[in-house]
Amino acid sequence: MSSVVALILGGIFGGGLYYAGMTNPQKILNFLDVAGAWDPSLVFVMGGGIPVAAIGYYLVTKRQAPVLFADIQIPTQGLIDRPLLLGSAIFGIGWGIAGMCPGPAFAAVLLEPQAIIGYLVALVLGSLAYERLHR
């Protein structure tokens, strides 16, 4: 049951990214290009997504446990530390270079495999490189 739910949640996420236009890297780059041909669509993606997600979060905080799993595992620490700042800064540079973040890359990999497989391999290598160096 839960694994079917996970498949559906992933599918809704992927469908959302696809229809929102986030699977086209140029759309991200044009959002980030205020000095050029600015495309503010991404503001509407965030504006649609955040309030709806907030309802789900509010509902789970009113419960002892989530509907399907035994415990809630949502981070609560509010510490603003160096890895958060530096990591986010590096992430933003990569996002601005490729016009793609992890979700849209997965959502688009079967649509445009020749372009995206290289990105995903590099993403996995970057992820593993951090874990090797810091864990």
Partner: protein, 142 residues
């Protein structure tokens, strides 16, 4: 040049929000893609292997939609160096910063998490600056 698509992007955003809301309410977990990938790579699949199942839906459904009800957005590939360099930095940075556009940008903002709000402000700033530099100062080298 891409077309401004407020309605489609809003609908897509609501779908992403529904998925994130479902992750909170049903699983009590953050639907952050970089975290799901990293844990899947470490063979930490979670209860009932929900992480690989989530990724399967994320990868498969857009393909099905592109065959039955394609979106009008199209796809323009970045250059290979941009894909490789960008991918590496996104992978490295999202692990170091404990999240990406989904985990911090959607789920964290929805929780009004201080860490996530800071993360979003930081990565938006460096992304805007990066695009300004690559497109306008360096004339699209990447």
């Amino acid at each position: 040049m891409t077309e401004f698509t407020p309605i489609l992007s809003l609908i897509g955003g609501i779908l992403i929000g529904l998925s994130a809301a479902g992750g909170f309410l049903l699983f009590g977990r953050v639907m952050g893609i970089s975290g799901i990938i990293a844990r899947t790579l470490n063979f930490d699949f979670g209860e009932v292997a929900w992480r690989p199942m989530f990724l399967l839906g994320l990868i498969g459904v857009p393909l099905i939609l592109s065959l039955v009800a394609p979106s009008p957005h199209g796809f323009e590939a970045p250059t290979l160096p941009a894909l490789l360099l960008g991918g590496f930095l996104v992978g490295y940075g999202s692990r170091m910063g404990s999240g990406c556009t989904s985990g911090h940008g959607i789920c964290g903002m929805a929780r009004l998490s201080k860490r996530s709000i800071v993360a979003v402000c930081v990565f938006m700033t460096t992304a805007f600056v990066t695009v300004f530099v690559t497109r306008h100062l360096l004339g699209g080298v990447l």
